[in-house]
């Protein structure tokens, strides 16, 4: 078990450098390795990899077993017929539908037109505010992703999801 050469914590990064025919071993902990400038591949810890894999697997089987309690619609049925069974389906199958809707509607993903009870007037202020917030969050998310601030991006994404699914 090696200790980090710089800070003496447990070393997790082990490098073997060969220069001028001499072999040199370097042992560093994660943080010191980054600080020392050793290029870190953005790696995903094993347990998170497993988590993602399991989640994806669960989604697939979820997709296949998901059935609307109100009308009995399944995703397979929608794939076969192209028609949904009831209003609740738009909530139940939201994840799968998002892609379908964006493709069918040239990338659009939310309604900006007439609302019930307000004869072709502008949607009310609360709705307008929410829509402006959604647009703002989307811009910030894009910026965060570009700047590789993934933690921030994840936070923004969760905020967006919360807003969009009301």
């Amino acid at each position: 078990m090696h200790s980090c050469e710089r800070c003496h914590k447990t070393a997790t990064v082990h490098m073997t450098e060969v220069s001028n025919g001499k072999k040199v071993e370097v042992h560093l902990c994660d943080r010191c390795a980054q600080e020392a400038g050793y290029v870190q591949q953005s790696h995903v810890p094993i347990n998170e990899l497993l988590n993602q894999f399991l989640k994806a697997h669960a989604q697939v089987s979820d997709t296949q077993t998901l059935r609307c309690a109100d009308c009995g619609m399944t995703w397979q049925e929608f794939k076969d017929t192209g028609l949904l069974g009831c209003a609740k389906d738009y909530e139940l199958f939201l994840n799968q539908l998002q892609g379908v809707i964006e493709r069918a509607q040239q990338g659009a993903d939310h309604h900006t037109g007439k609302t019930p009870g307000k004869p072709s007037a502008q949607p009310d202020d609360a709705v307008k505010l929410r829509k402006a917030e959604i647009t703002r969050l989307k811009k910030e998310l894009a910026r965060a992703v570009e700047g590789e601030s993934y933690e921030l991006a994840a936070k923004l994404r969760d905020q967006l999801r919360a807003l969009e699914t009301t």
Partner: protein, 353 residues
């Protein structure tokens, strides 16, 4: 009023009185709606469908409307009458051919038709002659408001009005025009129009909408997206930008034909008149193609002795269901070809063209 009474009139949209009616036959606005708390059509039980049908019919007939309305129960209507409604653009082919409890409310002048229990619970349609998109929308909008005062519609903040098929989501609004584009076809430029339409995300269809071919140089152009833009935005782009461009292209093509190839133009028209005057058997497609060229001749004033409303009337009466009602009995394919030719010979023969 009943279906049979319709055959005595030409329907407002065929009156050829609207703006740009040399090229635009009609403008149409369609809204798709579903009643909240009921499943969509594909999952509604027989009982639920009957309930929906009765409920919608009662409200449609009970609404205080500027236009008097009559109701047709399609389940109790025979095939020829159902086909008649399709030919008059009052119901879709799908609705006529469907099964179970369903119907349509029609205004006496045929400007408004509301289908009940088609793909969605309600499909409101408003027709106008020529290019009158905004007028059609205004009426459809008001009709929608009146219905929403009485019935709660399936709606979500995020996705707008909820429809059975995601292609109608959001506004549920389909705007379309029926265009007559014989010159673009004759100059070979119609393909360019198709490609441009595709690039602009428009659907191009034939005379009777989804799943029909463009016969007789008639094309139905409509928007494809219904979500992410407001009704006004969809209308404005369609009415102020897209359709005027296509109209301009057809006008230009007609100009080209007249100035540079008048012989070819008159030849096409002359042959059409020849067939209409002398054929002994005529299929409905053939009739449409010939009448289309005849229409071009009338509009471009190369043919006299016939007016547009008469030609529009002919378009309708040569259709299979209309023809059979005209003759007064069902006819098989061969008999129809003969009857059609006879009818056309009589009508055209009377005019000195």
């Amino acid at each position: 009023m009943k279906i049979v009474d319709l055959t005595n009139q030409s329907g407002e949209w065929l009156a050829a009185q609207g703006p740009k009616s040399e090229i635009v036959i009609s403008s149409r606005v369609r809204l798709a709606r579903n009643i909240a708390s009921y499943p969509f059509m594909s999952k509604a039980t027989r009982t639920q469908r009957s309930e929906l049908h009765r409920m919608c019919r009662d409200h449609l007939l009970g609404m205080h409307s500027d236009r008097p309305v009559f109701y047709v129960d399609l389940d109790k209507t025979d095939e020829i009458d159902r086909q008649l409604l399709v030919e008059r653009h009052l119901v879709s082919k799908q609705h006529a051919a469907g099964e179970g409890s369903r119907g349509v409310a029609i205004s006496n002048d045929e400007a408004v038709a509301v289908m009940v229990n088609e793909e969605d619970h309600l499909r409101l349609q408003v027709l106008r002659s020529g290019l009158q998109m905004r007028e059609a929308w205004s009426e459809a909008d008001q009709l929608d408001d009146k219905l929403q005062d009485r019935l709660e519609m399936a709606f979500s903040e995020r996705f707008g009005f909820l429809t059975a098929c995601p292609t109608n989501l959001g506004t549920g609004l389909r705007v379309s025009v029926m265009l007559h584009l014989p010159a673009l076809k004759l100059t070979g430029e119609i393909e360019k129009v198709f490609r441009a339409a595709k690039d602009m995300h428009l659907a191009v269809r034939g005379l009777y909408g989804e799943g029909t071919e463009a016969i007789g140089d008639f094309y139905q152009i409509s928007n494809q997206t219904t979500l992410g833009r407001s009704e006004d935005e969809i209308l404005a782009e369609f009415n102020d930008v897209i359709i005027p461009r296509i109209i301009m292209a057809e006008v230009a093509a007609r100009g080209v034909l007249e100035n540079e190839r008048p012989l070819a133009l008159d030849d096409k028209i002359g042959r059409a008149i020849g067939i209409l005057k002398y054929a002994r058997m005529l299929t409905s497609e053939e009739a449409l193609f010939c009448l289309s060229h005849l229409r071009l001749g009338v509009v471009m004033k190369r043919v006299t002795g016939l007016d547009l409303p008469t030609i529009n009337h002919l378009f309708l009466q040569t259709q299979p269901a209309h023809l059979q009602r005209l003759i007064g009995k069902p006819l098989d394919g061969e008999a129809r070809k003969a009857a059609r030719a006879q009818y056309v010979r009589d009508k055209i023969g009377r005019n000195n063209l």
